[in-house]
């Protein structure tokens, strides 16, 4: 320890022990040191033997991925006719899945960026995993509009490129906005993720025991050496990226909702859509985070780094966004009645009591009723209970998109054009197959990259040391 007179002046002017919004600075379990957190997180990748359940889960996910590959191959050969879509229901499962996956991606950016800006330190333990979840979910989402194009091999017509026919994409179309929004979202998420990962890749490089691992992590780490000057630029960029990603995450799902809101179809043409879609996205995203985090926390024994309080916080976020979504449902029904528009009114009646009525009531049950269990602290702090509620919310949010897309399209203005959509086995195979893609990527991520930002957890350790008298 340095002498008394060597103590730097800033040691006395510490921040109080209570951070913004009343969260105490004690975040981690007591007794953690720089070395212990580094060891605990990096050993999952480098030295620890992987639990049998990892192989088991990976095998299932990989099997589903192969099924996806098969379904997509058949689709490319035979066209979108193998799906249950027809006129007027030209948007089927593909768009439902697209909106659902994009929504799931949103919690990652929300946790990473918005909670970073709000100085919520509990994000540190989960932000890396949720950012990875965002990337993989957006990758799954991006596939569906491509497959739905009918001619996926000319997808680049959606981009402005110097083509020989002197054509431009229609920049006034929400579908083109979608292309820009989703590809920007994916790119920025990837950059944000990699910038956060850079110092940890250096840690893995320095701790790797075999030559190939040293080489691969070394290449990815770009020769990061933790220089103070580098850290300054790194932190500056990281904060700016968070600031850029925050409006981005709100804009992306707003743009996705414009796909519907700009159309004249009853049930779609609604100004509540942008905020209501964003709330729903964060709702399903947090549910997916919990569905992933609870098993991982258990499997790898991360209770010390992810205390129950974080899960409780996420449950609270779900409860809040759940009510926003419920407000959206109520507003949709109210506006349909209040507008006096006969098509809107009959759409709403049809949605609740028509051929898809049972789906609608399932939606209300899953998204509005069951999550009310989260009012109880016993449920919020019970792993099984929380997992089940999150699962219901995930299914419920998928159903919500189904109700919006299918029930609105299947009965539009002219009864002679009404048509019931029934999914085929190919629809189901692409839906479950895309989950295979998502979970395969997630399992590989857990295997090869650190689950949490090691450098940020070390910073937490240091802050907690300082906070103690």
């Amino acid at each position: 320890m340095p002498d008394e007179e060597l103590q730097p002046s800033h040691v006395t002017e510490r921040r109080p022990a209570v951070a913004l919004l009343g969260y105490p600075t004690q975040i981690l379990a007591p007794g953690q040191t720089y070395a212990s957190v580094t060891e605990e997180i990096s050993s999952i990748v480098l030295t620890r033997k992987h639990p049998r359940s990892w192989w088991f889960g990976f095998a299932i996910a990989f099997g589903l991925l192969m099924m996806f590959l098969f379904a997509v191959t058949v689709l490319l050969f035979r066209g979108v006719g193998i799906w249950g879509i027809n006129i007027p229901v030209a948007w089927g499962f593909a768009i439902v899945n697209f909106v659902w996956w994009v929504g799931i991606g949103h919690a990652g950016t929300f946790i990473s960026a918005i909670l970073l800006l709000l100085l919520q330190k509990w994000r540190t333990a989960i932000n890396r995993l949720t950012e990875a979840m965002t990337l993989f979910a957006v990758a799954c989402a991006g596939l569906f509009p491509l497959l739905h194009l009918g001619r996926p091999f000319v997808f680049f017509w959606l981009f402005p490129y110097p083509d020989t026919m002197d054509l431009w994409p229609q920049f006034r179309s929400p579908l083109v906005w979608d292309v820009f929004a989703v590809s920007t979202y994916f790119t920025v998420s990837l950059i944000f993720w990699y910038v956060g990962l850079l110092p940890d890749l250096a840690t893995l490089r320095d701790r790797a025991t075999t030559r190939p691992k040293q080489w691969i992590y070394g290449m990815l780490a770009l020769g990061w050496r933790g220089s103070a000057v580098h850290w300054q630029r790194h932190q500056s960029l990281y904060l700016l990226l968070a600031g850029l990603a925050t409006p981005l995450v709100l804009s992306v799902h707003s743009v996705v909702s414009f796909d519907f809101a700009v159309a004249m179809v009853p049930g779609w043409h609604s100004t509540i859509f942008p905020p209501y879609f964003v709330a729903g996205a964060i709702y399903s995203g947090f549910a997916m985070v919990l569905n992933i985090l609870i098993p991982i926390r258990k499997l790898y024994g991360l209770e010390g780094l992810i205390p129950m309080r974080y899960l409780n916080n996420m449950a609270n976020v779900m409860l809040a966004t759940g009510w926003m979504v419920t407000y959206g449902y109520i507003m949709e029904a109210f506006m349909a009645w209040y507008s006096g528009d006969v098509f809107e009114r009959s759409m709403m009646w049809n949605r609740a009591f028509g051929p898809y009525g049972w789906v609608f009531w399932m939606l209300i049950l899953f998204n509005c009723v069951i999550p009310q269990l989260l009012w109880s602290r016993r449920v919020r702090t019970n792993l099984v209970g929380l997992f089940c509620v999150a699962l219901f919310i995930n299914v419920g949010m998928w159903i919500e998109r189904f109700v919006i897309v299918i029930s609105s399209l299947s009965r539009d203005f002219t009864p002679s054009a009404w048509h019931i959509f029934i999914p085929t086995k190919w629809d189901l195979m692409t839906l479950f197959g895309s989950m295979g893609l998502f979970f395969t990527l997630l399992f590989l991520f857990i295997r090869f990259l650190p689950l949490m930002s090691i450098s940020e957890v070390r910073k937490l350790v240091s802050e907690e040391k300082e906070a103690k008298p």
Binding site: P8, Y34, P169, V188, R233
Partner: protein, 179 residues
């Protein structure tokens, strides 16, 4: 024997964030200018202590964002007003509200990509070899140790004097680093 290599600098090793920050400030007060610290996590004020006043990353992000936004808007205006105007029900060609989403997305996209490239280039990465890696136990700089390096290129650098000065800061050890 030890004189055969070229000296890059002297590396002092600390166990705590506060110590390396205090040491960097003391070195600065003592008149050293060319130094760098290597730490396992960012430490507030350390970059200032080793002599880096502020970073140009925000400026790069701002400029790239402006370029992206202006370029995106121009592209849409050029496409829909000049190069390929479509008259749909007499609506105006220059329908600016529908340009907003893409303009916004391109602003964010260019700012982020520009910021990433800017950060990497300003940091002179990728740089697989750096003399600092020669310091003993330097792999702990990415784990649990804090290093402060006074470079031999510093005008005030004098091997025995600097070494004894660094030892007054109570490091775990001081080691010579070859280039």
């Amino acid at each position: 024997m030890k004189q055969r290599y070229e000296l890059y600098g002297l590396m002092a090793e600390f166990t705590e964030a506060d110590e390396v920050l205090a040491a960097a400030q003391r070195c600065r007060e003592a008149g050293y200018r060319r130094m760098d610290a290597f730490t396992p996590f960012p430490i507030e004020g350390l970059a200032e202590a080793v002599g880096q006043s502020r970073t140009r990353v925000p400026l790069i992000v701002l400029l790239c964002g402006i370029i992206g936004g202006a370029g995106g808007y121009f592209m849409q205006w050029y496409a829909t007003v000049v190069d390929y105007p479509l008259n749909i029900g007499g609506r105006p060609f220059h329908s600016w509200p529908s340009y907003i989403p893409i303009t916004f997305e391109l602003t964010i996209l260019c700012a982020s990509i520009g910021g990433l490239i800017g950060m990497i280039l300003l940091n002179r990465l990728p740089q697989p070899y750096h003399p600092a890696f020669n310091a003993p136990d330097f792999n702990r700089a990415s784990q649990d140790r804090f290093f402060l390096c006074v470079e031999a290129a510093d005008p005030k650098f004098d091997l025995p004097a600097t070494k004894s000065f660094l030892l007054t800061l109570h490091p775990e050890r001081v080691s010579e680093v070859e280039k």
